[in-house]
Symmetry: C2
Amino acid sequence: MSTSPLDASVAQGRPITPGSTRPSPATELKAIALEQFALVGFGATSLQAIADTAGYSKSSVLYHFASKEALLEAVLGPAIDRLGRVLAAFTPAGDARMDRDAFVEAFVDFLLEHRLEVHIFINQGQSMRGTPVIDRANELIAELTASLFAADSTTQERIRFGVALGGAAYTLVAGMTFAGDALGPPDEIRFALIQVVSELLSPAPLPRLAETGDADSATG
Amino acid sequence: MSTSPLDASVAQGRPITPGSTRPSPATELKAIALEQFALVGFGATSLQAIADTAGYSKSSVLYHFASKEALLEAVLGPAIDRLGRVLAAFTPAGDARMDRDAFVEAFVDFLLEHRLEVHIFINQGQSMRGTPVIDRANELIAELTASLFAADSTTQERIRFGVALGGAAYTLVAGMTFAGDALGPPDEIRFALIQVVSELLSPAPLPRLAETGDADSATG
DNA sequence: ACAGTATCTGACCGATCGGTCAGATACTGT
DNA sequence: ACAGTATCTGACCGATCGGTCAGATACTGT
């Protein structure tokens, strides 16, 4: 009995096994909340469900986070901070198109690291307007759009940008989280994403794609 | 007072103004439910909210639809039927790649017509497994994947397919529904989508744009 | 040993959830 | 005019929602 590591140890609120230092309750709760918010949505996730999964009481969740919305802030905040930093590094002043290739790489790495957070505010951002952390994310997306495209951008360009953003977010969550590793090895996923996002953000197909060949796709 | 057409007329359950024949209550409820399910999610949408928006009581909603899940079935069913027909027309037997350009056009038209439904089962399909209508949609997506790609498809191809599917669904909802007409005129959107989806589903960039003799390493 | 603090919990709150049901009302064909 | 049916509603149900609070327990520095 009590095969689950969550049962006996965490139920008391502190790690018992001295060897593997269990993450703090707040960290654990944030991780569970992140997954649930992305999977079933913020509105459809109950604090009770989060507490049950973590092995705590609902009161404990509300001890660590003042409210459900505060928990959302804590969950999304770091990812949005990081997005802000990625954007700031590539839009220093008025000069928008600095080093687009490097930007795409940094952006894809951001997506890979924070795919669940991105999925949340991509797919639920519109219905959560008013929540500070969501508004901040929406502002950053608007900033990103503005820095990538001039004011006279075409429908074509806007569509390609939207497809790149939403497509990457969807693929990462649906493919990596839900479908397991059916999508491919992580390094291949990263390479393919960088390529397809670059392609989508460029007015024409990548110019130097000609001789790249396979790169490292054969190395498993 | 009572400027809203919903107020006086529908509150009694039947259209009063004889000129403009109001849609049936069931149709109206489905339209409102569709929007809410897509906007805030199925789990976060209450029957009361749907009823209030339509100007009916919650009991009336449950008179027309036996349950919340039955309402979801009624909302998504037609779109999934249509998707099934689109797929059936282009995968008659084992021959998968019939006329890919025509298929992409039909598929994009399907996306344009049922963007909210697609958004629902793209973004909430994983958390609604077990619901018959959602399972049916997931099967169709799997069938689509199988008909587009051989069993030995590369990571690159799978990523591109996912980006096309998720990206188109996201762009149509976020761009057209939430951002109004900021994306562009409908015919331009359609044209741009057909082009970008075609490009993503092709193993190599569009042949006309560059003379890259590479063919992307996928053609093995 | 002891006081102070951090953490966790059950009991409880009003509000809302999906759903049931009896009855009121409107429409129908005769 | 009348019976039958379709439609709509309020009252009500148990369950669950996010959140509060007093008190139990564990840990801390002294």
